[in-house]
Symmetry: C2
Subunit: 164 residues, 2 copies
Amino acid sequence: MAAAERSTRDRVLDSFETLLVTAGSRAATLDAVAADANVSKGGLLYHFPSKDELVVGMLARLREQGEADATKMRSAKKGPVDYYLSTSAHTGSDFDRALVAAARIAQEHDQRASEALADLRDGWFTVLREHLGDEALARTIQLIGDGLYFDDTMGLQAKGALTH
Amino acid sequence: MAAAERSTRDRVLDSFETLLVTAGSRAATLDAVAADANVSKGGLLYHFPSKDELVVGMLARLREQGEADATKMRSAKKGPVDYYLSTSAHTGSDFDRALVAAARIAQEHDQRASEALADLRDGWFTVLREHLGDEALARTIQLIGDGLYFDDTMGLQAKGALTH
DNA sequence: TCTACTGTACCGGCCAGACGGTATACAGAA
DNA sequence: TTCTGTATACCGTCTGGCCGGTACAGTAGA
């Protein structure tokens, strides 16, 4: 208990994301989230008064993570393209999980989630275009990244990966 | 009622897919599907004794559509690559809808749906590799197609599309 | 008469959310 | 330094509604 001093609030969001990713939105019920986060239902609802607030909180955290990622991408040793493609495939990071979780929410026609994801993609695209100086090429790189990401989140796994 | 003589069974599957795609799996309830298909709940359960059977029926139809698509791809005028990429972005076809619907189901960790999707992708890959004679290139083309597809199903829309 | 339904009535479980507690910490007053 | 008040961070139960599924009686057309 000394290390890993994660707040209840963060633990709840972690569990919400994990359930969304591993079991789908149907399974991500308040009870399930509370149980996974080792909080009572009442405790969960203290931090997030409704399920909708849980979504809002998750997306807010995603945006923070996204800004941090864009910064890392800009200053990556091997350059933004390599960074982008190598992190498009599943890395198992918290950011990854948040991304997939947001995608699940977006599918239930949630406007805010779709916007958050679109904004993230815009951010990456901006960095790629700045670096490459070519809009069409930047778009193609992004499509390949999307493809890698897609294959991975779908559990399809592209065997002959482009990266490495 | 003269034209569009679609069977009740097919109409139910259509509605199930449509609801999955446009509103997510949470919204695709038996009641909602029945209402959308203009069938009573009893009528729906006459054709599909359980929700699970609805999934099975949907995947069976998807596989049929998939085989037809691979055949069309092989004999496409402008070649398989053009056909593949131009149909990766949303075409609004029944096949498209079935594909996205299956992806929604797959996300709720449904093994059968994941398998059906993986088999479809294998089929496309085989055609691409046969035509191109290059495994790595075929894989890259498929990734770009996945990217286009991903962007589209996520409602992100790649503005400077490759297939314009 | 068989198929393909309609419509209604029901049930058990699950789910979001409401609500009434409880434990702890800290602050100011006496 | 003890008493009182208040805020924070929870716990656990309850309720009303929805969802999947059952049951069954009826019916129109081939």
